[in-house]
Symmetry: none
């Protein structure tokens, strides 16, 4: 029974499990089988629960963890918890470290941002609600004109959407809030609003969407969580959670969802 070192990834964990499977005594094999069939439970259960599930005593389960190479259940659980949250590290503290060290090279910083972007994209696949996405596409495809709005951090996204629509020949207007003009009156029946807004929500954006909704103009909102005041008003919410590094969101996932939305709308329009 070599103890070696603990698996560092889930594939490595599975490897190990497979390798041990046959030469394990009864109770420990029960553990192995239960774990194999219920991997996901490890992250959210206690030893007692896992042991009960496997039909063994907690202490037997502990031995199983140790034979797998971990010091105990907690260490094994950490592997699954971390991989569940996509290894989202605490970027804020890491950035602080970078700041303190000061002389960090650009390469290290780049790696951090690439990692944040990658994690965001993966998270997007997991969390996006395809039904809402399709509904949003439908809503916006029928619009006479799409009014795009986004301030501050969301402005790059809004301008990219606007560029994409332009390129595909979809009628769209980018509301910039320039000079505090909100061009409310330009939004007429048959149009639709596509807003991009992240907490803290820009008042200009919230205002525009709210006023539009009051007039029965449909609205789609790209935002950071489904808990957004605009939901009460009846807007379709597309939630994207970005991993942020320090004070900066990567925007990768948001832009990705934005371009998907734009292209889907563009093609849908063409075919009708």
């Amino acid at each position: 029974m070599n103890e070696s070192s603990a698996p560092a990834t889930i594939p490595a964990f599975e490897e190990r499990l497979l390798e041990l499977a046959d030469r394990l005594p009864k109770r420990l094999r029960q553990c192995a089988e239960f774990v194999a069939a219920n991997q996901d439970r490890i992250a959210v259960s206690t030893v007692a629960e896992m042991a009960e599930g496997a039909g063994v005593q907690p202490s037997a389960f502990m031995r199983f963890c140790q034979i797998m190479g971990f010091t105990g259940f907690s260490e094994m659980q950490r592997l699954f918890r971390d991989s569940y949250v996509g290894g989202w590290p605490d970027y804020t503290t890491r950035l602080d470290h970078l700041r303190e060290k000061g002389g960090e090279t650009g390469g290290g910083l780049l790696a951090e941002f690439v990692e944040a972007g990658r994690a965001s994209l993966e998270g997007l696949l997991k969390t996006v609600d395809l039904q809402v996405l399709d509904e949003a596409v439908a809503t916006l495809s029928f619009a006479r004109v799409i009014h795009v709005i986004g301030m501050r951090r969301s402005f790059p996204v809004a301008s990219y959407l606007s560029y994409a629509f332009e390129k595909m020949g979809v009628p769209a207007v980018l509301h910039s809030g320039l000079g505090r003009l909100d061009n409310q009156n330009a939004i007429v029946e048959g149009d639709a609003v596509l807003a991009v807004t992240f907490s803290p929500y820009a008042v200009e954006t919230m205002d525009l969407v709210e006023k539009a909704m009051e007039r029965q103009i449909p609205a789609v909102v790209l935002t950071d969580s489904t808990v957004n005041p605009l939901r009460k008003a009846g807007a379709r919410l597309l939630a994207v959670s970005e991993v942020d590094f320090g004070a900066f969101r990567s925007l990768s996932a948001t832009l990705c969802l934005a371009i998907t939305l734009a292209v889907a709308i563009g093609t849908r329009r063409l075919s009708e």
Copy 2:
């Protein structure tokens, strides 16, 4: 603050969160916002971790749980652990699944764009020239004012850079080309130019950079290949190759490089 009964489902939980969101004191609102943006973490984190994430004391987070209607954190966590049905397939499986079944619906498109974004980010790490990056950071850190320019597809990137600089207190001007004014005269000795441009290169951008270089104003150019007319003129070129899907580039890599540049400049300025 009525205690009523605890939400029994996640939608009910969200409802409650939304309902409370505005009439919550500072710290508790921080909790609400963090929870809204990181719902999935609740199942696998401790109060201490959640509190740290939200930037509050554990006790504040406990109060938040109670106001949400639970007796404490454990009860709230149970809701999320129970509803964590698991079986969340990993990134690749999910991607394949979306590609196959997604087909014409939004899902298939999304999978393609996510993949394009991810590939771009990976490519970025491999191809970026760290030495040039560090030189670019040095050049721009010493500038009195950074003049940012980017048209069409590059405009979102330019505006994001401009936003990031603003947030970090780095003096920067976004040249939009609005009304065909190029504000050449605003660029004076001691300043620097940061241009974003992809083939086909916008004349406004090329003009601005060329004229600046003639006057010995240093320029950094974020572009798609090292064969760019501006190199001859002496600009520092940062090349990014984006993977594109259909007619659309993902921008992920470009934005990632842009934010790295911005943050590196911001921190460098602070430390000098």
